[in-house]
Symmetry: C2
Subunit: 140 residues, 2 copies
DNA sequence: TATTGTTATACTCTATAACTATA
DNA sequence: TATAGTTATAGAGTATAACAATA
């Protein structure tokens, strides 16, 4: 296995672990990981259903259902755009914003054991490398 | 945001990107990411249903259904253990093994743009840091 | 005509509870 | 009694196709 493959495999294994941790945190709050992603995107701005679908890579009909369930739980609100009668903007309720903050804090806390294993002096460098890699694929 | 938080966020964003890429590859082969994980685990050894469930963090009943569908597609095979009549061992068929290899290659190929953004000299160091972090949480 | 969003439908993923078979 | 696995059930996630409303 060459260096490129070795790094790719490390990335994939890291992904599985981080996903497992986040999925568990989501479940502890009675949410799926997808719901957490949607809440996270909406937490600090109003977003159209279509944009939410694009950002998550899901179909707009799927997003419609996700928003339905989050609305039913009082975490999100739908608002019609005054500028374009077709558009629905999705907004986090207070309860939704509070929940996002909680989950974000839990994520920081529960991923800490992994992050803390990286020598402090190298943390900035590692974050920068990951940011560089993400920027290269348009996720920066 | 301190250094620890910044690194955590980079990890989470990396996770979302890698997951998106792998989910797309899985879908192109008419599989879910979960199915790919199961096939990957079984690809080079026989594994009990209970162990598969433990490894993936899923319930054994969920695993039973996943194996059902993979068997129906000719990707996996169930074999009763000769040593313990309760145990079912799951084995990859030839077609299943071929598919795993294909998907693994596609993963390497499609994650390459991200990996290639890391300067070659730093790739080993990055892989080592990730491995260290994973080892610290028992995923090494 | 094109775009935005929802609904109808069908399948997969998932867990819980109840069950069968074996140890 | 305990363990391995399946089945029944119910709900969430997902995409495709068809639809209504608006531009």
């Amino acid at each position: 296995m060459d260096r490129e493959e070795r790094l790719t495999e490390a990335l994939v294994r890291t992904t599985f672990h981080v996903t497992a941790v986040m999925t568990r945190i989501a479940a502890e709050h009675d949410l799926s990981l997808t719901q957490v992603r949607v809440l996270g995107i909406v937490s600090d701005r109003r977003v159209r259903v279509t944009d939410l679908a694009a950002r998550t890579g899901l179909d707009k009909s799927t997003m419609s259902g996700l928003v339905d369930r989050a609305v039913a739980r009082g975490l999100l609100r739908r608002e019609r755009s005054p500028h374009d009668g077709r558009v629905v903007e999705v907004v986090a309720t207070e309860a939704g914003a509070r929940l996002v903050a909680e989950i974000r804090a839990a994520g920081m806390r529960e991923l800490a054991p992994m992050v803390d294993a990286v020598p402090p002096a190298e943390r900035v460098g590692l974050a920068r490398l990951l940011d560089t890699a993400l920027a290269a694929v348009g996720q920066g």
